[in-house]
Symmetry: C2
Subunit: 90 residues, 2 copies
DNA sequence: AATACAATTAGACAACAGTCTAATTGTATT
DNA sequence: AATACAATTAGACTGTTGTCTAATTGTATT
């Protein structure tokens, strides 16, 4: 997972909001879509980008596809910032 | 400075490399441009985006314009990640 | 097996981003 | 004040992004 992909994925407000929703618990694609004023197809597209950036994982459960937050990629970002700042203490 | 602007600015590899260059010391726009296979106008454009995202500050010094890294915006990113992870220990 | 529900994929379209060349602005030197 | 140097701005062009509607796939229910 490249930093480019990660930052690009995080640059969209809708995608950041999706991640925030997943903070509490995993959710089905439909449940996520229901929270936005966007078509389900659009949300599916955003979920695809998040998945491809490694920010979420997905698993089918019957008719639904459950999405779950994956925070490990965030480590990469933090490490990159650390190299920039020469090891700032956050 | 919005997260959108910040992440968008960081999503471009050239801009990330510029920030890395500025890690050591402030540099003139021309010195930065000299490190890349891109036209000076293009680099100037990138510097404008970094400035507008608050990631660098600039100051004119005679004929040159000196760019300096500004890390304070990174705090915002880290804080956002922290809210997502519910206070992960990095 | 037929129908319905959940989600994704395909294709179209407007808006935006990264690059270039050419023109412009700002500062210093002669 | 004329010229040269450093940097930015303007305008054009191509490629990418976010959204939509329509069509498709996958799974469950009847």
């Amino acid at each position: 997972m490249s930093l480019k992909k990660t930052f690009q994925a995080l640059s969209d407000p809708t995608r950041r909001e999706i991640l925030s929703l997943l903070r509490e618990r995993p959710l089905a694609a439909g449940d996520i879509a229901a929270r936005f004023d966007l078509k389900a197809a659009t949300i599916s597209h955003h979920l695809g980008i998040l998945r491809s950036a490694g920010l979420v994982s997905d698993e089918r459960s019957g008719k639904n596809v459950i999405y779950e937050l994956n925070l490990s990629v965030m480590e990469e970002i933090i490490n990159w910032i650390k190299t920039l700042s020469g090891g700032i203490d956050t």
